[in-house]
C-alpha cells in the first residue's frame, strides 16, 4: 500500500540541500506552512531561493527564515507589509536579492512548470519597467510578454485535510498558491491538520490529487502566523 506519511516535519525537510529553490505556500499568513518552515530553520539549509507571494511578517515563519540568514534570493510579488521588518532590513543592507514578479504572472509561471508548459505569453507588465528586457510579441493586434515556467526542487505547503496518498483539500483562502506549488516542485512536502484514511476525501472534492505530493506530515494543531505575531513570538 502506498503511504506517503512521514513521521515528522524534521525528517520531511532533512534532505533539502544548501542552494535549493523552495516554494512556500501561503498568501501572507493564510496558508503559511509555519511548522515546516520552522523545521527548515532548525535544519539550517543555506543560500536558498524562496518563492512566495510575500516575504513574511514579524519574526516567525518566512521572516524568521530570512532573519536566520538562510535565504539568498526572494521571488515574490509583494515584499512589503505593515508587519514585515526582516526582509526590508536585509534588502536595504544588500544581504538578499529580490526578483519581483506580478502576482498573476507568478501564479501562472508556477502552474506552467507543473503543466509542462515552458513558456507562455501574457499581457501583464506590457509598457512597464517590469517588461524591460523581456521578449514581446503581438497576437491579434495586442502586445504580450513572454514568460518562462518557474520550477522548484521543493515545495512546502499547508493543507486542511489529506489522505495517505497525498490527496489534499485546503481551508478557504489558505488555498491560494499551494495547489500550484504542489505541481511545480520536484519534491512536495505537505503539513496537514486532519489526516484521514483512504476514501476519507470525496474524489469530487480533492483539490490537489496525490500524484503531486511526495510527503505528508500530520501536524494536528498547526499554529497560525497571525496568532504568533499577535503574541509577539519569534523563532527560534
Amino acid at each position: 500500500m502506498i503511504n506517503k506519511v512521514c513521521p515528522s516535519v524534521a525528517q520531511a525537510v532533512a534532505d533539502i540541500p544548501d542552494g535549493a529553490t523552495v516554494m512556500l505556500g501561503g498568501f501572507g499568513a493564510s496558508g503559511s506552512p509555519i511548522e515546516l518552515i520552522h523545521a527548515l530553520i532548525d535544519h539550517g539549509a543555506k543560500n536558498l531561493t524562496v518563492i512566495n507571494n510575500n516575504t513574511g511578517n514579524g519574526e516567525v515563519g518566512l521572516a524568521a527564515l530570512i532573519g536566520n540568514g538562510q535565504v539568498r534570493k526572494m521571488i515574490c510579488s509583494f515584499p512589503r507589509s505593515s508587519q514585515s521588518k526582516v526582509f526590508p532590513e536585509y534588502y536595504k543592507a544588500g544581504k538578499i536579492e529580490l526578483d519581483l514578479v506580478p502576482q498573476g504572472t507568478l501564479a501562472e509561471r508556477i502552474r506552467a512548470a507543473g503543466a509542462g508548459i515552458p513558456a507562455f505569453y501574457t499581457p501583464t507588465t506590457v509598457g512597464t519597467v517590469l517588461a524591460e528586457g523581456k521578449e514581446q510579441r503581438e497576437f491579434d493586434g495586442r502586445t504580450f510578454v513572454l514568460e518562462r515556467w518557474l520550477k522548484a526542487e521543493y515545495a512546502l505547503v499547508k493543507c486542511d485535510t489529506a489522505d495517505p496518498l497525498g490527496n489534499l483539500t485546503y481551508n478557504k483562502t489558505a488555498r491560494n498558491f499551494s495547489p500550484l506549488m504542489c505541481m511545480a516542485a520536484t519534491t512536495t512536502i505537505v503539513q496537514v491538520g486532519r489526516l484521514v484514511d483512504r476514501g476519507g476525501i470525496d474524489p469530487e472534492h480533492v483539490v490537489t490529487p496525490g500524484i503531486f505530493v511526495n510527503r505528508v506530515i500530520h501536524v494536528p494543531e498547526p499554529v497560525h502566523e497571525d496568532t504568533l505575531i499577535a503574541e509577539g513570538r519569534c523563532y527560534p
Partner: protein, 221 residues
C-alpha cells in the same frame, strides 16, 4: 469655493456607474468603500485575487476565520453562493477578461489612460507590485478613485505619468473629490462636477487639459 465630495461620496458616486450583476474587484483604500454604497436593486459580486468570489463584509470578532482574508490581508466573510479557488484560477478570471469592473486607487492617472499606482520609483525603495499589473490589463473596465490633488497640492491627473507605470492606456474613468472625468481618445473629459465645484476649479487642479462634457454639466454651485 471648492467643497466637493468626501471619500464616502466618491465611493458612492462610483458605485452608481457599476451595472447590476457585475463582478467587481475593489482595491485598497477608497475603493473598498464602494461596497458600502451599492445602489438599491443592484447586486455586485466581489472578487478578491487571493482566491474568493463572493467576498462579504468584515466578520465580527467571533466569526473570524484566520484563513479567510482578502488581498489586502484583512479578514473578510464569504456570502452564500461564494467559491474558493487557487491563484491560477483567480488570475484567469482577471487576465481572461471575466471581471467587469476594477476600482483602484492611484498615485497618478494620465490623460491617455495610463496609470501609475505601484511604485514611486525612488532608489532604495522596495518595489512591490502584487496583482495591480494583472488587474489593469485584464479587467474590462478600470475605474480610478482618488483625491484630485496630492496632500502637497500636486495634480494626480496629469498629461503623462512621471511615476513608473502600472499599465498603459487602461483606465476608463476617474472619480475624484471634485469631479467624474472620462478618459477619451481626446484626453480627459468632464462628466460631472461635485457639489460646489466649478469646471474652472477642476481645470486649475488638473495637470492636463480637461475637455468640457459632450452634454453641458449642471453647475455644481
Amino acid at each position: 469655493m471648492t467643497t466637493g465630495w468626501t471619500r464616502e461620496q466618491i465611493a458612492a458616486r462610483t458605485a452608481q456607474d457599476i451595472p447590476n450583476g457585475s463582478y467587481v474587484n475593489l482595491g485598497i483604500g477608497i475603493p473598498e468603500l464602494v461596497a458600502k454604497f451599492v445602489p438599491e436593486g443592484r447586486e455586485f459580486i466581489y472578487h478578491t485575487e487571493n482566491g474568493l468570489l463572493g467576498m462579504g463584509p468584515p466578520p465580527s470578532e467571533n466569526e473570524r476565520d484566520l484563513d479567510l482574508m482578502n488581498a489586502g490581508k484583512k479578514y473578510v466573510t464569504a456570502v452564500p453562493g461564494a467559491a474558493y479557488f487557487h491563484h491560477a484560477d483567480s488570475f484567469s478570471m482577471i487576465r481572461g477578461g471575466h471581471l467587469d469592473v476594477c476600482v483602484l486607487g492611484t498615485m497618478q492617472v494620465a490623460a491617455n489612460g495610463d496609470i501609475a499606482n505601484w511604485s514611486t520609483g525612488e532608489p532604495g525603495a522596495i518595489p512591490a507590485v502584487g496583482g495591480a499589473m494583472d488587474l489593469v490589463q485584464g479587467v474590462k473596465q478600470i475605474f480610478v478613485v482618488t483625491q484630485h490633488i496630492t496632500k502637497t497640492g500636486e495634480p494626480k491627473l496629469v498629461e503623462r505619468c512621471t511615476y513608473p507605470l502600472t499599465g498603459v492606456g487602461v483606465v476608463s474613468r476617474v472619480y475624484t473629490d471634485l469631479a467624474v472625468i472620462d478618459i477619451t481618445p481626446e484626453g480627459f473629459r468632464l462628466i460631472e462636477l461635485a457639489p460646489g465645484v466649478s469646471f474652472d476649479d477642476v481645470k486649475n487642479k488638473t495637470g492636463a487639459q480637461v475637455l468640457p462634457p459632450d452634454i453641458p454639466p449642471t453647475d455644481g454651485a
